[in-house]
Amino acid sequence: MINLFKTLRTKSIPDFNLSGHSLCRTILIGGEAGQGIKSAGLIVSHALLLAGFNVKLYDEYPSLIRGGHTDVLITFSEFPVYAPNSEVDVMVCIDHKTFINRKQDLNLNSIILYDENEFRLDNNETNVYPCEIFTIPVNKIIKTYKLPAYTKNTIYLCACLMTLGIDIDTTKQAITKVLQKKPDKLNLNIQACELTYQNLNDIFGIRQIKVTNQNNLKKKRFFLSGNECAGSGAIEARMGFYAAYPMTPASSLLDFMFKHYRTYNFIVKQTEDEIAAINMAIGAAFAGARSMVGTSGGGFSLMVEGLGLAAMTETPLVIFLAQRPGPSTGMPTWTAQSDLLFVLNASQDEFPRVVLTPTDHEELREMTFLAFNIAEKYQIPVFILSDKYLSESYTTITYQDPNPSKKIDRGLLLNASALARIENFKRYEFTNSGISARSLPGQINGIHLANSDESDEYGYSNETSEIRRLKMQKRFKKVENVSSDLPGLNVYGAHKTKYCIVTWGSSKGSALEAIRRLQMMNKYIKLVALNYVEPLPEKDLISILKPMKKIFLIENNYTGQLYNILRHLIDTSLVVRFNKYDGRPIFPKEIVDFILTSI
């Protein structure tokens, strides 16, 4: 074997077995966009999953295809991983920017892997961050064994997995899993893996990472993204129609739908714009299909007039909105929780809507399923508010077979025999519940007009003050009991405490990790994570928040949009706010630091 490692400056390698207070470890892989950084991250994740860990993956990339810089953050633990952590234990620097951008996230025990032949870390840099630095002879291995350039990432990620003590078989299995759809590239990547393990064995030795918690390996676990969860939930709900115009971070949901529409027999349409998407979905819902659109804030801006149309014609509609920083084009590939007030208030005039804010991947799937039931039962528009961070991050979930009581509720839909008994069908009949039965085009005796103009019980245009009042009351009456179909409040953490974090949507994960860490410091905090904001669970919120001495309101936006909704319910002098608005998700460490300084 050729000695390739004379440049390696190794002292000792830290032990990465997880113990005591270090429940999670984090790997950062960074490089130039378009170099396959995400695939490398997925391979590392799968190796860790196969070794028995739970994994969360979050990637940050620019809105371009080649060049620029991409980071993948992978946090793993034997225990549930609630959020990707910002503190980096192993940093794989495929380019110099990785180190420059993220050096503040290193600690004394971190290790850095890079190749001296790619770029040089000068002494000024390494002295400030005196963690272990290994140069991996990636370019030398490539040259010596005449491997193609695309196997570089494999060498980096194998080195990374070796430092963690992941064996070669597990790594090969992970490479095969992720690259199985690129069989032409698989063989040489496997070869690069073998050569890396052979050549670096002397340095890293034979290490074996220990997993003490064998339960993970016994359970059926899945590793998937937020949008894949949402898509699975929609298919589980027997969605019949999905329309969208590609827009990050909702585009991958459109891709998911195109992958599955033939097997699960539904229509998916890529439209000329978002206006067409929502109007087509309304047409499809009017004709009887469970319908959904997917977009981000900019696309939803175009859909707003259609939102009012769905409300006015009482056409059930599910709107999936994955938020990203705006206004305007904003930061297409980054994250924010800044469209809450927008979806709550979008459209002229007033009408009811439901806004679901799933707080993690499993809720994303469950609440997408639920959204269709609510939309059809109450004949209203229902929002699912995700964001780039939730939609595009990957997590480990355990999926149980659905509860047999889980049902599709299509609401008041008349069948042929019921319609045959009806004379003079009133589609918008005034009823005690405000909800009137639907008929579908093609059904005899169910003919009606769905009208964007204010209209009477038949749908005929009517502008009398009496009809207007009755129709306004009807629309609002429909949702008086909608809370009964929504889940209870998400409350976590200590029972007996006077401190409570309040958050909504995707920020829950970091808050959970933060209260776990604070608990280890004997600081006990409660957490309320809202998974729906409209209707607002006022009573439950008040009963939990009333006894509190301090309320930490944590949101990924500038103005505190949830705070502005809650301020009339709570004593605002007790509230301290944490707002992050730089396009990055809120990390657990930030919450811990914030709470320690404000407690």
Partner: protein, 289 residues
Amino acid sequence: MKKIYQRDDYNTNQKCTWCPGCGNFAIWYMLKQALFELKINPHNVVIVYGVGCSGNGANFTDVYSFHGLHGRALPVAQGIKLVNKNLKVIVMAGDGDSMGIGIGHFIHACRRNMDITLIMHDNQIYGLTTGQLSPRSDLGMITKTSPTGNFETPVNPISLAISSGATFVARGFSGHPRPLKEIFKAALIHKGFSFVDVLQPCVTFNKLNTYAWYNARAYYLQDDSTYDVHDFNKALSVSFIWGQRIPLGIFYKNYAPTYEDSLNIDINVLQTMDSSPQDISEILKEYEV
């Protein structure tokens, strides 16, 4: 269950609100007549309306109807057709709807070639908003919003439809109701996207394009027995004739696979009322560790 429909079953009990003499009347009567003669039953018809005087017609015809947003009738109609191919889907929209605010949807509807019929109520003026310039207004036309005369080139809906891929393109005139009915019938029978531009005088706000003005200019392409409706280039060149003479009739007709047939997904909205969730274990398998 079967239901026998009479001619009057296509009417609602609502009072018509158009101006006396409005060109919309002939379109309304002749469409109902065409549907009745073709034995297309009201419960199998969906008419989607835009917003404008033509859209107010939503109240008068007793078929499944959807009165949508200004400019957005075509997407609603396509959504309906995609989930239930068995319906006869018709769009009624004005020239403002189709050539102004909704022109993007028009082009895409043409190239998609779904089996939908678009009937454009073309009065070359904004009537319901009381007389503003339309993208179809002739050059020089004085309106409330073109006080010195229109100096924007009018949109040519016929050439636009042909070049965008519509497989049936025709023009009728409200002043000639019988030929109009025949054009409607041909459009309704045609499988694919059919577009009928109906010249329809607005007797209240358009004092230029009157019945007399059209009568003096109109002639039928089909009067020339050598006119071949399948000749794309000929149709395109004829589509630019406008002024001293205005051609009516079927400009272009062709057969191409419809979008819905190419997609080949039938979701049977009227049959599937399944209440059990879809089993997604096969989907999840791909993500299994």
